[in-house]
Amino acid sequence: MKFISKPAPNYRDKRSTQDIMMDVTLALVVVALFAIVFNFMQYGSAYGIRVILVILVAVGSSVLTEVVWFLLNKKPVLSSLAVSFPWVTGLILALMCQVNVSLYALSMGSIFAILFGKLIFGGFGHNIFNPAGVGRAVVLTGFASAVVVDFATGATPTSTMNAYGWLINDAALGETFLSGFGGLSNLFIGSYAGALGETSTLTLILVGIYLSWRKAIDWRIPVAYIGTLLLLATVVGLSNQAVVWYPLFHILTGGAVFGAIFMLTDPVTSPTSMTGRIIFAVGAAIITMVIRLKANLPEGVLFSILIMNMLTPIIEGLTDGQQIKRQTKNMRSILVVLLAGVLLTFGLGNMLVAKDPNAKVEPEEPPISLKQLALSDASLDEFVGEIVSKSADGDFTTYNVKVAGYGELYATDDYYTYTDNELAIVVDTVNKKLISITYVTFGDTPKIGDKTKDEEYLATFKDMDLSDLQQDVDLLSGATYTSMSIASAVKIVMMDLGN
């Protein structure tokens, strides 16, 4: 007979951390399924398969990173994995990305998330930042342009809202905006372009209720976060006479609900006391709002979570003590934070200027190297063009040339539509000389092409002949994109002449 001595109690609840993480996994899988089905139905099987691939890559890279880590540290791989839950990080990360995310970027993000978000802190339970959040930040900042163009799905509501300056106070503009995404109800159901798991508020609310009921998450966090966000957006909306649905927009899009349910509730990186969790969520909502309004960034949710993760130890310290006796103090702390948030967003809200992206208020012209541009310059080749038509009239031939302009090449924001620049170029076929150059269609936006609209500039091409092509004639000091576009057109015509 052996009496096993151990400290009391000798009784355990059935609920284990493994169970809890299984519940979270299940919830994530439901959200992932929505993303897969939605992409299959909306965009076709290529997109659906792509979503599956994105998820597999993120989960695979996360798990593999841990496998390698455990092998290097000579730990039993399977049993260590079973209590480290890397797939949860992978799933969350995948669901925060869009369908066109580069798989390379995503796997780098996953590796970073696991390695620098979790393992170097000592593994599960010891990390300071939400690992998936770290991974997403890496994908966003390190691989911003790493998207796969084959999987274009259109602009997301938040990036579009960005273009509106985070304020819509004109009902007609609001209509245009909403109709771009099928209306509010569609935003709620989630059939619009966005990060895979973040679009369907409906699905997220359902799994959120499930997780709260299973006590896998504390309902206080999502409720406090979304509630505060709603309150702050209402403050901004009212003080700016914004459209009525303006506050709703803030919670329906940009991963607010996803972040509230899956990331802010991550117990490891949030405070342990109830008051702490509420302050944490309220703080995150305030920061989300500040980032959206002030920094004019669509990723307010993500960065607010990472910032609050950092503040978790301070919040914990704030609420330490006998919780029954501290109730009044704790309530006061929450209200103070909330009030500060309201005042702050009220102030920021007053600085907002509504923008109408359709009114062609353009982004600044990107800087271009101030160099002497020569016709032989290789960079001209980027401005692909073609001869649309050629009509001869005696010695003179008129070429109509279509050539890509700034918009086509550099303005990736799909909301704007650009057309090619189209030029009519008259040449003397006998002397192989350029006689005149005029616009047929000016595709570039006014500001970017200003200089080149000048007759003066167009005149510099006059009398140019074939030999100039070899002689590296300087075309313009401080070339603009449009000047390059025109030079490219000239070059195409000259080449045609030469043949």
Partner: protein
């Protein structure tokens, strides 16, 4: 449960059906009993008998006579052998008086019965003191002291909640002794000069509630209050908050309430009616590690090894042998310890093994701590040996209810960390 404070309680699987309706088994000691010479933490007792004295059931054998008066009585008749050191369920060896059992169980009344209807409150309090009635809910605090200092009491709360898993001794004691429960309760009401008695019973014990309610028809001053089946509903603060929705600082008297365990009331009635001190106990022996889980009637001083043997023995190679229930009872290193006046259960469980999982920081321990503490934070600062923070976290208010370990999904020994923290603070205080 409120917005900022967790539920501070939780339903546990009680496994009460293992024993609650079984036949009560009488377990008699073999040739010797070892009566612990320790009262409410003190072993500074005056021994009233010497070697080779012939004594009877009820003979007063020792007395604690300092700040509090607690007599100890023999549970068998026979011959005093000697005083030995033996393991006590407080987990340390203490003096025990060995009595050779003559199996006659000859009874001697150490005090005369008293009619509670006629006696004055003062007489009743003195009687309670001399009868050695101690709190049978676990702590063994002498019951008379509460009444001696009672002031502006409106309610006597009889605690029949019995929230520890597996234990059904109070329940069986009540179902079998309803009359005594009423006599004892009424006497306590008189002693406290209270207006009413509330008997708190778990709402799930419907048979007992029905039985009590019909017995209480003629006693309008006694009422049953049903409380939820959660842990630790049997803790004074929890049950008082449940019944009165009030919290107090140090003692329930602050809000006009005196609390006594139902078995204490029954033992008190037994002393009043029969002139009999506590020499026998109703004890639940249960768990998945014992062949025949049962409620037993057993004499104080009977070694637990004999109790276990009488119930068919252990049914596993390795067991956790617990003096008390699985939540608050101490895990014993062997089964040589004896049944004491305040023993209400012996729990035998098969040990469970769990994989190592890090603290999830889920805060469940804080949300369910009935004392409103933050065990996870206490554990963190205990590891850092940061006494100031531990004091700020009120670690000393921990009642060691075991809830934090119970709920911990990572299966950490959270309660033990809090115990270490308490020791750390105490060491610094000295």
């Amino acid at each position: 449960m409120s917005l900022l404070v967790g539920p501070m309680q939780q339903h546990l699987n009680g496994h009460k059906d293992l024993t609650d309706h079984n036949e009560i088994i009488e377990v008699s000691p073999s040739k010797q009993v070892l009566i612990p010479l320790v009262c409410y933490g003190s072993n500074e007792l005056e021994l009233l008998v010497k070697e080779n004295d012939k004594i009877k059931v009820g003979t007063k054998i020792a007395l604690r006579n300092d700040k509090m008066i607690i007599p100890i009585f023999s549970s068998v008749s026979g011959t005093v052998v000697k005083v030995v050191k033996n393991m006590h369920d407080m987990l340390r060896p203490v003096d025990h008086l060995v009595v050779e059992n003559d199996f006659q169980y000859e009874v001697e009344m150490p005090f005369n019965p008293l009619d509670p209807e006629k006696a004055s409150p003062e007489e009743l309090i003195d009687f309670m003191m001399n009868a050695g009635i101690v709190g049978l809910g676990g702590a063994g605090f002498p019951a008379y002291i509460k009444y001696k200092f009672a002031k502006d009491i409106h309610t006597v709360l009889i605690n029949g909640v019995e929230c520890e898993p597996y234990i059904t001794a109070d329940y069986r004691n009540m179902t079998d002794n309803i009359d005594k429960l009423i006599v004892g309760s009424k006497a306590m009401m008189k002693m406290a000069n209270a207006k009413e008695v509330l008997i708190a019973i778990k709402e799930t014990k419907q048979d007992l509630i029905a039985q009590l309610e019909s017995a209480l028809k003629d006693h309008s001053e006694i009422k049953v209050v049903k409380v939820p089946d959660v842990y630790p509903m049997g803790w004074e603060r929890t049950v008082i908050y449940q019944v009165f929705k009030k919290r107090y600082d140090r003692l329930p008297g602050e809000i006009g309430v005196v609390v006594n365990n139902s078995s204490t009331a029954i033992a008190f009635a037994n002393a009043l009616l029969n002139g009999a001190p506590i020499t026998q106990k109703m004890v639940t022996v249960s768990g998945d590690g014992i062949v025949k889980p049962s409620n037993i009637l057993v004499r104080v001083g009977t070694p637990v090894s004999e109790v276990v043997a009488a119930l068919g023995g252990y049914n596993a190679e390795e067991v956790n042998l617990i003096a008390g229930g699985p939540m608050m009872g101490k895990t014993m290193p062997n089964d040589t310890f004896v049944i004491t006046v305040s023993t209400n259960a012996i729990t035998v469980l098969r040990p469970q093994k769990f994989p190592d999982v890090a603290c999830l920081r889920c805060g469940r321990c804080s949300d369910t701590c009935p004392a409103g503490l933050q065990p996870v934070r206490i554990n963190e600062f205990e590891k850092a040996r940061d006494v100031d923070s531990l004091v700020k976290l009120s670690a000393l208010d921990c009642i060691e209810c075991g809830m934090c370990t119970y709920v911990c999904p990572s299966r950490l020994e959270v309660t033990e960390g809090v115990r270490r923290a308490k020791r750390l603070i105490m060491a610094k205080k000295k």
